[in-house]
């Protein structure tokens, strides 16, 4: 079972919720937590696992053998990202623009293009008992998060319960992280920003077509609008976490909610039960 934890708006508590789920469930089963917020991975700040393995992530970029190249220009023409340019008798490659699709090397009539790996990030792994953390890390200065996210997701073990910590927003990295999940939890807060960004995240999840529900964090600030929106749209609010300076304080020190306030475990387990029920109901409906 794969549960992704997304939000639209940043800083609403995705990592707090993802780590709480993972830590509440490790007594019952094997859990993999995938930190797919590869631009700013934070899950291990709350989990403190020793990272034992790391694997660089490469994307394939073209290398042009100038002794074979006839400057026909087919590669530059084929590249949708303008990562190859022909200037007179010279081929220029712009590695940061390359998506690694492989069209240029395949289509080169002289077989003058080979591919070489360019490192864009890392996948790191650590575990403790039933918990395994797999985190992606985009290299500083790199633009493209999706290749790193794809690499992290290759480690999904179908025998484990998988929890995915998703990056904020509503664009391609979010889709890359969430797709293939059985359920998506959307974490929000009761402010106009929370509402606006929640409604965008809801559209993404609807497009991806999976059951989803809301966790409302910092209940007590803001107003009723998010509650009203969820009610109107028929979206269940599965967990409410109050605005509590103690929770903020624990988080600021890198202490997970389950470790610092174990009384939350019960509520998080109930949340998990609700998620399982919703997944089962949606399978029946299909």
């Amino acid at each position: 079972m794969i549960i992704s934890v997304a939000s639209g708006k940043g800083g609403t508590g995705k990592t707090l919720v993802a780590t709480s789920l993972a830590l509440s469930l490790i007594d019952n089963c094997k859990v993999q937590l995938l930190d797919c917020d590869v631009e700013e991975p934070n899950a291990n700040i709350l989990l403190h696992l020793a990272m034992k393995q790391s694997q660089p992530v490469y994307i394939s970029i073209p290398r042009i053998d100038e002794t074979k190249c006839t400057y026909c220009g087919k590669c530059a023409e084929a590249c949708a990202y303008n990562a190859i340019a022909m200037i007179k008798e010279k081929v220029l490659v712009f590695p940061e623009l390359c998506h690694g699709c492989g069209a240029c090397s395949y289509l080169c009539p002289e077989s003058a293009i080979t591919e070489e790996g360019r490192e864009v990030g890392m996948v790191e792994m650590g575990n403790s008992g039933n918990l395994k953390l797999i985190q992606g890390k985009l290299n500083v200065g790199e633009a493209m998060a999706p290749p790193v996210i794809r690499e992290v997701k290759k480690y999904i073990d179908p025998a484990s319960l998988v929890i995915i910590d998703v990056p904020p927003g509503a664009s391609c990295p979010v889709v890359e992280a969430v797709k293939g999940s059985d359920f998506c939890l959307l974490v929000t807060e009761p402010t106009p920003f929370g509402l606006n960004d929640l409604s965008l995240a809801v559209e993404v999840v609807r497009k991806l077509g999976m059951p989803y529900g809301v966790v409302m964090n910092r209940v007590g600030i803001g107003g009723e609008e998010v509650e009203k929106y969820c009610h109107r749209e028929g979206i269940p609010i599965l967990l409410r976490i109050p605005l509590d300076r103690n929770i903020g304080m624990l988080y600021s020190q890198g202490i997970s909610l389950i470790e610092g306030m174990p009384q939350w475990r019960e509520g998080v387990l109930r949340l998990f039960q609700d998620i399982k029920d919703m997944i089962a109901a949606s399978r029946v409906a299909k």
């Binding site: 639209g8 708006k9 940043g10 800083g11 609403t12 990592t15 631009e39 700013e40 934070n42 700040i45 084929a78 949708a80 990202y81 998506h99 690694g100 699709c101 492989g102 069209a103 395949y106 289509l107 985009l138 500083v140 200065g141 790199e142 633009a143 493209m144 998060a145 990056p167 904020p168 927003g169 509503a170 664009s171 391609c172 990295p173 979010v174 889709v175 797709k179 402010t191 106009p192 920003f193 606006n196 960004d197 965008l200 559209e203 993404v204 497009k207 991806l208 600030i221 803001g222 107003g223 300076r245 903020g248 304080m249 988080y251 600021s252 020190q253 890198g254």
Partner: protein, 286 residues
């Protein structure tokens, strides 16, 4: 004309509240929201849209069922896993056109994709250039570049002193696109371990692209020990911490009212943000 971009790495640290306050404090400026996939600045500035344009960018492959011979070549070559059972999943397609170029039956066409909208609006504080990326779309970097270009043209035409930009969270494609060539990046962080971790990475990105930075610690009194850590880290790195901003519900209350916090209250937070703007504008005059 000087361009200030407000970034944070971590989401939810208060970028938008600070930019909206600068909107009210700065005299001669145009405002930009570069968080195109979860834009919130408009919620505080009450804009009247004057110009709306469709944003067409990138392409998506379509397979003509009638021409397709189901040879499977496209499926085999697509590195984004976007083709399954001779159908293209538009959410996975990165528009490289590899399939289109190799299809022996000419069954694949590339269709332009409408990836969002860009807006130029008027607010009581001046022009606002913003955008809405289509749900689950790519090319946020290009839309960011377009929004910034719109702002630059306005600033030149009206002879304005400042372009003030609300940036996206993270360190990837839209952040890099928001940042290139800016006069100064203001990095808004919070005294949590995640905030510090993410700040370090966004500082790395700014350095990579040679953009001068200034740091501001929001909600500094949430954990003063961490605030000291941030300040001493910055001192060691030769980075100025320009402001400490207190944790105050007035910031959330202002969001609920749809106002910049400096227009909503006249308490300590407002004074701190005013002083911050003073420091930034003095710095930029040099």
């Amino acid at each position: 004309m000087k361009e200030i971009v407000v970034l944070s790495g971590k989401g939810g640290t208060g970028k938008t509240s600070i930019v909206a306050s600068f909107a009210a404090l700065a005299q001669s400026k145009v405002l930009v929201d570069c968080d195109v996939d979860a834009a919130d600045l408009h919620l505080l500035l009450n804009p009247k849209v004057k110009e709306e344009k469709e944003f067409w960018s990138g392409q998506i492959a379509f397979i003509d069922e009638e021409k397709c011979t189901e040879c499977g070549l496209c499926q085999e070559l697509c590195r984004f896993g976007a083709i399954k059972d001779f159908e293209v999943d538009p959410l996975s397609c990165e528009g490289c056109g590899f399939c289109y170029q190799v299809c022996p039956a000419d069954a694949i066409t590339m269709k332009d994709s409408m990836s969002g909208h860009s807006f130029i609006s008027e607010t009581k504080y001046g022009y606002l250039c913003h955008a809405r990326l289509g749900i689950a779309q790519e090319n946020s970097g290009k839309l960011v570049a377009l929004v910034r270009q719109n702002a630059k043209l306005i600033a030149e035409r009206e002879n304005l002193d400042y372009i003030i930009t609300d940036g996206p969270p993270g360190i990837g494609c839209p952040v890099i696109s928001s940042l290139s060539g800016a006069s100064l990046a203001l990095l808004v962080t919070e005294p949590t371990l995640s905030g510090i971790h993410d700040l370090e990475r966004v500082i790395g990105v700014c350095r990579h692209f040679g953009i001068p930075v200034l740091v501001c610690v929001n909600k500094y009194d949430l954990n003063e020990e961490n605030t000291y850590r941030i300040e001493s880290y910055c001192t060691n790195e030769g980075i100025e911490v320009a402001a400490r901003i207190s944790f105050d519900n007035a910031i959330t209350e202002a969001i609920v009212q749809g106002l910049p916090v400096v227009e909503y209250s006249n308490n300590k937070v407002t004074q701190q943000i005013k002083e911050l703007w003073q420091i930034i504008s003095t710095k930029l005059e040099k």
